[in-house]
Symmetry: C5
Amino acid sequence: MDIASVIGLVVGTLMILGSIVVGGKSFGALGGFVDYPSIVLVGGGTVCTMLICYPMSEIIKVMGVTKNVFLTKQKDILIIINQLVSLSESARRNGLLALEERIEEIDEDFLVLGVRMAVDGMSPEIVDAIMRTEMDAVEGRHALGKSFYDALAKYAPAFGMIGTLIGLILMLANMNPETIGAGMAVALLTTLYGATAANFLFLPIADKLAYYSGRELLSMEIMVRGVIAIQAGENPRVIKQKLMTFIPPKLRPEEEEQA
Amino acid sequence: MDIASVIGLVVGTLMILGSIVVGGKSFGALGGFVDYPSIVLVGGGTVCTMLICYPMSEIIKVMGVTKNVFLTKQKDILIIINQLVSLSESARRNGLLALEERIEEIDEDFLVLGVRMAVDGMSPEIVDAIMRTEMDAVEGRHALGKSFYDALAKYAPAFGMIGTLIGLILMLANMNPETIGAGMAVALLTTLYGATAANFLFLPIADKLAYYSGRELLSMEIMVRGVIAIQAGENPRVIKQKLMTFIPPKLRPEEEEQA
Amino acid sequence: MDIASVIGLVVGTLMILGSIVVGGKSFGALGGFVDYPSIVLVGGGTVCTMLICYPMSEIIKVMGVTKNVFLTKQKDILIIINQLVSLSESARRNGLLALEERIEEIDEDFLVLGVRMAVDGMSPEIVDAIMRTEMDAVEGRHALGKSFYDALAKYAPAFGMIGTLIGLILMLANMNPETIGAGMAVALLTTLYGATAANFLFLPIADKLAYYSGRELLSMEIMVRGVIAIQAGENPRVIKQKLMTFIPPKLRPEEEEQA
Amino acid sequence: MDIASVIGLVVGTLMILGSIVVGGKSFGALGGFVDYPSIVLVGGGTVCTMLICYPMSEIIKVMGVTKNVFLTKQKDILIIINQLVSLSESARRNGLLALEERIEEIDEDFLVLGVRMAVDGMSPEIVDAIMRTEMDAVEGRHALGKSFYDALAKYAPAFGMIGTLIGLILMLANMNPETIGAGMAVALLTTLYGATAANFLFLPIADKLAYYSGRELLSMEIMVRGVIAIQAGENPRVIKQKLMTFIPPKLRPEEEEQA
Amino acid sequence: MDIASVIGLVVGTLMILGSIVVGGKSFGALGGFVDYPSIVLVGGGTVCTMLICYPMSEIIKVMGVTKNVFLTKQKDILIIINQLVSLSESARRNGLLALEERIEEIDEDFLVLGVRMAVDGMSPEIVDAIMRTEMDAVEGRHALGKSFYDALAKYAPAFGMIGTLIGLILMLANMNPETIGAGMAVALLTTLYGATAANFLFLPIADKLAYYSGRELLSMEIMVRGVIAIQAGENPRVIKQKLMTFIPPKLRPEEEEQA
């Protein structure tokens, strides 16, 4: 579980609430920031707009992906490289078919797919083509997820602004020196809701999905190159050197330097 | 029919109207949000600007496409893949010419085009070239439709702002403490119209067109690859594996895993 | 002549003026929207900035192109395709040289260029290269024209804002409860001028130039492919099928389906 | 010297100053637009930010390039093409070595480089590679210059806003009905400075650098293609036709049509 | 150490503080610009949002890279080119293996990697592939660093706006003619903090990282081309000419012109 994301979300929320309490000089000030019609307008309006943008099935699918933002464990690329190097040593010593019995120990579905195709004797071109199509498909699905949160981050502030405009128009049409302040305060609430939802929730989630997508595709790229190199019977040492270039120099294990 | 889009549109409209009624504490408040000159300025100004941007024929064409946003049934990519695999089995067993009698059962015009060219004995290069030109043309038409709604979403708020500026200037030139509130309320209406039209109608439609375009092109890409693979006489099992990569792993049928 | 653009421009202008008359409840209200110093600042400032951005010769050239937005007749791609197919039939029957006497009947300079080079016996590579260089050059000139109007649409509102800031500063420095309204009204005029010029004139013209550029390049692409196919002696029926893919299915002539 | 740019700068400045004099109804109004602390904040803040963005050496280099915006004489592409065609005729008649004695008459350093390499008998691949690397390098330097002015145009209004925020906060903290107007006027000055500097100076310069870069690279592209064609011993007439495609049809010399 | 960046940061900060002191007419005015809850909200909120966007490990890594903005010494590309030319002369005279003893004198790790692979007799394709993979990886890491500061520059002003909205709503809900000015002053502080942090700190750092990345990749490109040319046994004079094209003509050493 990605504890930092959860901490960021919880502490950030407390800071926003805390700044209201400190600024309003009482816990009661929080009450002035809850206005149900405003919540319904911004939340409901954004959801309804999303229903126009995406088919229902897609929305449900993306919802399921969102928990990854907080739950996904980052893959250790070093472990993947070491496994590929180890597989290449087996293949060099005992032939490609010897990899069959090692498929069990591979965690990554994508690597299992590649190794199995290599064992099955498919041509390197087809293995490469199938693995890269899978990568394109994964990239497309990630891009869809990101575009979904980008859309939320676009429509939530828009409905915040629509709500504020409605509030201002109502207030101006019945201008009353005594209630004008309270009226404008309520009108601004929807802008605050929209801005907070977009900048503290939707945009960060979109950013994190983009980050994860980059990491995932990098690890898939390494697996593709590794499997193709194994199939071509390349020297395990050369394979290791090639794949290690994907890791920042400082993180490369020391023995690599000495080798 | 895409029921979600219609629900989104209807419920969202009710929410906006509802928030006016609740905020204004009476149904009469809705009256303050209808100002015919403002509607004419924003609506008419936007339409006139579109007439400058696009030739008439193009505008009529795009209008016809818009209903797809609410009516198009999403294609099931799995069915297309199964059909392609089934076609490849026929072709392998009985030769390419045997596909002629199966053309009847194909729903997709684009696939009919590809299979017919294959049956006609055109070279794979030409089949690929013609199918991809068709894809480029479809992509171009979709992009034009999206650009049309993007333009609407750009000019509607612009005319909203122009209307508000006109209203403010009129109000300021004849400043009167008693009517200043009502004047500003009316001035802000055009901004509200423009913002709502752009964010609740035009941008979501542009987003959905982009989404449908992506799906359509994906299914066309699958058909092109399928037809080319059939023409090349590839193994139906390999074809299936290649094409299945376009589907998210969770949605792939179970038997595929066992095969 | 593109009547829709002219109608859009005229009706849109009337709507803006009409909304001022209706909002101000008298034709006299129009007078409050004319302020010569403001017009000079926004118009002159924008022109001066363009003089810094582009050399004089370029500005004059683009001015000449602008009338196309309202005057250009859209090319009928179907006619071009039919002409290419007809030319290919002549070439197939009587040889490439037979095209020489048909050059007279071709309207498009670009197609004349291609056919003449084919008749002159230039190699297909050179014909393709020269035609595509011409296309690149046309694309570059169109892009320059669009960038010119995009620049106008960027600087006009900027000078509108500069004018409003100047007006606000003047008004605030000599604040007088009686003239503050009129002062702000005048200050806002430059913003209105800039926003209207950008959104009702410059951006739509830029959009239309982009649209025409796309159409023009599409018809040029068809001509290049047609000439190359003719030179290669391809079957007229295949040429027709290839080129027809550039036209939306619904607009394709019926006989094509029956052929 | 590019007289239009200078005229644009001078006349534009006079217009801005004039609109202040006319709006303020006296030359004394200009005094209200000069506030030294505001000038120091916007000017100094922007310069300091640039020092963080770019190393000192780069800043000095770009300063030196800026005078080109006002001083560069536009290259006449037609002259370059004619020179290339003339060179190709010499080379065809007397061999590539004969170009050595004509190097003297070439003004363009880049063309001298190409012709000298051709005379030296370098292979066409190397000549092409070296000339294109030089082009890439020129493009990169131009892009750096443009990015520099884009950065100025980004940070100047930002410091204008920072200055206005500081002014507003100071004014609001010590609100005094009598000085509030003057306080806000001064606060807005920094926004005016930033907006004017960005829109009337930095953005136009960036636009002009981009324009010059495009022209320069176009003329270099023509030179590369010309030199390669000369080296390949192509027909001068074909070379002329190829290179003329880079010039708009209307500007092509008449004799070309007759040839 | 990049003294200009440090000067820019220090002088810029003094200018901002100075403009407050001058504008407020006393050093005490600075006190009005320090509000701890506002600092906590903008600073803390931005940090918490970054925790949602990036995993902890990545944040720590980027922090470490930031000092480079102020400390990195710019590489002298001329020295790298001279070293490559000198290496190519050794290789030409005494063979590739002779480079082994010169590896000691090379400072750049990336060049050491390339030369060592060349000495080890790896094929040019593999040397090129490994060096370019390393370049891609470096580019990716730089892009990640830049995206990090771009995210900071996006979220800091967003939290500034959220803070100002909260302040405004609190102030409006309890409107009091005597404290309204002070309330709005405090509300605007968060916007000032966000704008200053973004425009004076995060964006310039992002810009400088992008600048350094460009320089670094340029020097790596030169090294790759140099090593490949050395491996191919190219003439040192040709190598020099090729690599010198990466340097602006004015900075090229004189002797090059005379050679």
